[in-house]
Subunit: 409 residues, 2 copies
DNA sequence: TCGTATTTGTAAAAATTTTTAATAACTAAA
DNA sequence: TTTAGTTATTAAAAATTTTTACAAATACGA
């Protein structure tokens, strides 16, 4: 049985005291969500609420089975306090990554543990109702597979590529053929509150949540796949911009070349520093007569994929190494601009291209030093991330959990 | 006599109830600071505190002469409520802009009215103690001139160029020869709490506070003087980055030229799109034999200042117009990148160069359309600001007031 | 002009929260 | 093992806040 608490949350018509109680309980849950466990004294101090009152809230939350006793703490002197924390399986959150060729669905519990995960679900993304219904079907199957009450699943976060307004639930690049918000369509088809998110932003959130960040939490995540995406975290929150379209880093104009970008413009960073660029560089040079281990393997140059180039580089293929070096240098120049503007504490480079490790990162860091102000870049750590490609659906879960528990927002 | 309230604020040792009272009063003051006036019912709703309790706070704040009755409101039906608001002259804030060749000092009251202002105070900025003491002397003289109790001046905000950590009060570019924070030096010399700020950020804050922004408040201010500065407002707050060095927009590398920038690097935006660049363009072309109205006026080309070029352009000097056009185009390309990254609701272009109006703004907007994604730039308003050059000291006042009243932070 | 509808402001009653005090739990040193 | 010192928890008392009820203020229409 689900607790009264989540029903209470949505009841707007509550008198002052009842409303304050709910707010305090939410604050306590949010505290547990970030701090794992806490003692009553800690919570009392944190929220400036008396110990008996906190005690009352904890008792009620325990009765609702949202919070439980995690045993005595190990303080030095005096009577040891009880610690309390979230009940892991009191509620669940589902996250869905809609890729162009597959789906990935994850489910986490209150304590961020992955309860279930299904990756590489065959699926073809097309901008029509059939393709949309296929997503719903997969999600419903995923839910049915588990023996979990629907009421215990507090929400579903769905990542789509392209332009998303997470506040309104509208998608502008895909499935934008209804008048109502797309999130409403999902809700009606699945029966659980649904929230949309841009895929790069959700992935960034997962990366940022991995515990590397300090207090301030101003960080950037650069996703280098075929294209280049950017997730911006400012003061611990994802940054969206006026309509949620922030982070179009791949299309800043910093080159004077004549290469037409996917966006239609010239001189974009993406034309020289992305996976697309990497493939173009390699195939161009092979066409110009350069030799590479790839020429034996692939009859048709169109079949060469990003991973093939990176694998070849790791086997000392000079052409590929140099091409990756080139990408690293150009990307580094772009990242130098980000450092000058944001003065971030951390930049994470992820995506498939990051797997080329030092072939990418050394020229990249070199270019950063060359093109950004030393007083500014001194503060910025740059790291590569080799996380699982299916991290995005986990990011959707995390983001959803943190939003519903009011940690973010 | 100053109220008890500000003394209370700094007393950390208060029991729970007293502390909550102070916090509620601060919230009420902060509300008044942004909303001018409010009724008791409004405040009760806003903070979820009962009407009698709010009434009690308002009564006490009135007794402390921080708040006063602003008369009946004009609601449609029923008994008309009293409105309350800040007492304009219950307290004051001083802001100081330290320029390279002069000082500007402003004083505002609680309601943001400029009570006193002194601009163009002769002064030479040098990185030594003498120059620092000269600032203190001017501030002390400014204070003495007014018949205002020191205790009523709640703080002094001082803008310096270069790298400032406003949280710690350290300055890294100027007056960095003491072990203690520079802010402490000022406090000891003046006897009033002092806060340092970067000049571009303070100026930005003044520009952002002029009431053009909507709720979200994601905006950028580009200051185009000799160099280029950038102030970033995110979610209504100035963005600092890890150590307060954010906004080095002038030194992002986007050109493949060979011009050495003031920062020592090549290819910076500033080499093609700043006041420096404008002067360089004009003098270079005159040296190359181009004709201009400026050649008659100035025997030595080194004497040509930014304002001269802008004035000449406004009198249809073709050479100057084309040079400004060039700056506009290049700056627009840089701003296009900012739009792609930030998706801001507003970009304000200020500084001396902004005074060239459409000679600058038309090529600039054209370049923005050319180089940024239309789906993103559609949201962004770009406006020129022709505000007084001495706005920065007012910005320091505003920022200080809003910080002390806890509106920001 | 008067009565009705509506909302504010305030006083008293009721409910809630904090504070204080007492007790329980625990460590470390005698 | 006992005792002094420290902190947690609980219970009761005190203080505070909210709620309720009602008088005062205002607009509008009869």
């Amino acid at each position: 049985m689900t607790s009264n608490f989540f029903k209470d949350i949505h009841e707007a018509t509550k008198n002052g005291v009842a409303y304050k109680n709910i707010r305090l309980k939410k604050k306590i849950l949010a505290y547990f969500a970030t701090n794992e466990t806490a003692t009553i004294a800690e919570l009392s101090k944190e929220f400036n609420i008396s110990i008996p009152k906190i005690n009352e809230c904890i008792t009620e939350l325990s009765e609702d089975e949202l919070v439980k006793d995690y045993g005595k703490s190990t303080s030095a002197v005096g009577r040891k306090p009880n610690t309390y924390g979230l009940v892991a399986n009191s509620a669940y959150f589902i996250g869905v990554q809609v890729g162009s060729e597959n789906l990935s669905i994850s489910m986490i519990n209150m304590k961020k543990d992955i309860v279930s995960k299904k990756d590489n679900i065959p699926y073809v993304l097309e901008n029509n109702e059939e393709s949309l219904l296929a997503i719903c079907k997969e999600i419903n199957q995923f839910i049915d597979k588990h023996n979990i009450l629907k009421a215990k699943i507090l929400g579903i976060g769905i990542n789509l590529s392209g332009r998303i307004n997470y506040r309104t639930g509208y998608s502008y690049s895909y499935f934008n053929f209804y008048e109502d918000p797309l999130s409403k369509f999902f809700e009606e088809n699945i029966g659980i509150p649904t929230f949309l998110e841009n895929d790069t932003k959700a992935l960034s959130y997962a990366e940022f949540s991995s515990g590397i960040l300090s207090e301030e939490k101003d960080a950037l995540f650069v996703n280098v796949d075929n294209g280049i995406g950017l997730g911006i975290m400012i003061n611990g929150q994802l940054y969206y911009g006026k309509s949620g379209f922030s982070g179009e880093f791949g299309h800043i104009s910093i080159f004077d070349n004549d290469i037409i970008c996917k966006c239609g413009k010239k001189g974009c960073l993406e034309t020289e520093a992305s996976g697309y660029a990497l493939i173009r560089l390699v195939t161009e040079q092979i066409n110009n007569g350069a030799t590479s281990s790839l020429t034996k393997k692939f009859k048709k140059l169109e079949d060469i994929k990003l991973n093939d180039i990176i694998a070849a580089a790791k086997k000392d293929d000079n052409l590929c190494i140099e091409a990756i070096n080139h990408i690293g240098d150009k990307l580094g120049r772009g990242i130098a601009s980000l450092i000058n503007i944001f003065n971030p504490e951390l930049i994470i480079i992820g995506g498939v291209v990051a797997k080329s490790e030092e072939y990418l990162s050394l020229p990249l860091k070199n270019a950063v030093n060359k093109y950004s102000l030393s007083t500014v870049n001194r503060d910025t750590k740059i790291i590569l991330s080799f996380k699982n490609e299916n991290l995005a659906s986990y990011g959707a879960c995390l983001l959803l959990r943190d939003r519903l528990l009011n940690i973010t927002d």
